[in-house]
Symmetry: C2
Subunit: 340 residues, 2 copies
């Protein structure tokens, strides 16, 4: 692994420094080649930084700023008043070459807006997208985009998402010819919105892509595609619906039973019988995976889940580090020039 | 219960008469006040009609037709060539007053198209919608619409869906002041598509409605709203994503384990500890519930799931009977005149 510096907005997310600072320390412990520049309110941050081993201390730089963008601020106003905010400073650190990627758990719209303005979309990309990898029931992973950055998408947008997702999946899932599918409300060619049907035609015409047709919501977890393409609105709805179903299920399995004597026995048996599947199920829990990425920009930007816990935010940092080392933006640019 | 006649397109769905005819007989056995007019190919249907008790025979009328609309036919062509098809004849039976409602498991687009032309939308309704009730984790039910009839919706469409869903929930869930929510990608007022934000304003202004804000995909099963409003595209994606997650989970819990001695013990324990929750979970299985309804027409039309089994198609018939007896179309019309 190569040496790498990431810039962190530690004020974003539902819990701020209480989660982001312990997560930063965890990420530094796990990745000895990683350095972090933290942007945030030092009075809130300092309590979590006492008694650090010097090895960690040396790779952690704190840049104080008192301003930050609220989660519920509307994007226009957030951007207008973004100067000096922790999120903007983190992205500026990447813009200025002081860091190779940024991570924030803050306002998604503001993060995308700032990243587009400061880091710029890659040449030829009209709309950067939000991408994540979902665990599938067969133990694999599926890349899905857009997950909420672009609420309305035309055929060309969806086509570009597929081009980007293709390259992302090649790198992240280590696949040669990822299977690409479009999220739709039926599998027949006549189904769905016009933009999707037109995107299907564009994708089918490109022989460098392994386009395999439409996919419905009930197939998202079944590993039938490696890359699932959607507009940001429906993609977000689908992702959150999955998360909700998984969380409900986990709480159901963990749920309190009236019979406290039988419960440990039951738990043990479940582990014995269902172990691998239960582990897979747990991975669908948004706490356990994390780090949606902004794809299509000139640099790596990772959006952590707002409700991420320490483990999940540390995963988001690790994700950003991997993408920066894999040079995903450069790969996408090269791929676009080759493929379009 | 009052006497009632329904018209059935028995050629629709993935399995045709093999499922629809046994389901019809089941529905007649369960509802002694129900009569059915079946439209379909008598050579395919007759084998399932032998040896019927005379009580059932008397309430079952078979109208032969050799034509039917294919599931994958595009809507325009399906409508143009619909004359004499089983689906169209069933709807015409309602139009002519020979039946009080229609049921089909066939092509949703064609069913909606024919119903709109032959039965007409209720006065003041721009877009009829597809509605279903979802079981929630707390053992209740939630009404959700639109589930796929209208892929693009403006604020007024969404507002009308809410008006219709309100009345549907009052009758189907027996509620006085149903909680209405809009499906969106965030709960903050600034989030989502413009049409949704405008619909939120319209709903909040109407004091006869219990509008409670946006709901995200992860809350669909949590019983936080009685009526969930969405455009048909996102609603369909969300519903199918839920179905897929539930099916995956059920197969995971039912799944084969390597240890065949422990399995029965495990199953018994699970039943003991999780019984009510497991039962609830099973209800999310699309086999166990069925019957999305076309809402906003002058008569009751129920769309059965294409993959419905006998039990599920029988449920769809029972659903249509309930709605016809509750006079849902008349209730919606009266409600619209009172509320708008």
């Amino acid at each position: 692994m190569s040496r790498l510096t990431l810039a962190l907005d530690v004020m974003g997310g539902d819990f701020g420094p209480r989660v982001t600072i312990p997560a930063s320390i965890l990420a530094l412990q796990r990745d000895p080649q990683l350095s972090l520049i933290l942007f945030g309110d030092s009075t809130q941050i300092s309590p979590y930084l006492s008694d650090l081993p010097s090895d960690i201390q040396q790779r952690l730089q704190l840049n104080h700023c008192s301003r930050y963008i609220a989660n519920d601020q509307d994007v226009t106003s957030a951007l207008r008043h973004s100067k000096g905010s922790s999120m903007r400073l983190a992205i500026e650190a990447v813009q200025q070459g002081n860091a190779q990627g940024a991570v924030s758990g803050g306002n998604t719209g503001a993060l995308m807006g700032l990243a587009k303005v400061l880091l710029q979309p890659l040449q030829g990309i009209a709309r950067p997208a939000l991408v994540a990898s979902l665990p599938t029931m067969d133990g694999g992973k599926t890349i899905m985009l857009d997950l909420g950055a672009n609420l309305e998408c035309d055929a060309q947008n969806l086509y570009q998402f597929a081009l980007m997702g293709n390259i992302f999946a090649q790198n992240q899932l280590d696949l040669v010819f990822p299977r690409i599918a479009l999220l739709n409300i039926g599998v027949e060619a006549i189904k769905g919105r016009q933009a999707i049907r037109e995107a299907a035609t564009l994708l089918a015409q490109n022989t460098e892509l392994n386009y395999c047709g439409f996919i419905e919501g009930n197939q998202l977890l079944n590993g039938v595609a490696d890359v699932i393409i959607s507009d940001g609105f429906s993609g977000n709805i689908a992702l959150k619906t999955l998360e909700g179903a998984a969380n409900n299920l986990i709480s159901l399995l963990k749920g309190k039973t009236k019979n406290s004597i039988l419960k440990p026995l039951f738990k043990g048996l479940m582990r014995l019988l269902l172990n691998d599947r239960y582990q897979r199920l747990k991975r669908i829990n948004p706490d356990a995976y994390n780090g949606a990425s902004l794809l299509g920009l000139t640099a790596v930007v990772v959006k952590s889940h707002g409700g991420a816990n320490t483990e999940a935010f540390a995963n988001a940092i690790a994700d950003a580090a991997t993408q920066a080392r894999q040079q995903i933006p450069q790969q996408i640019l090269a791929g676009l020039q080759r493929i379009t």
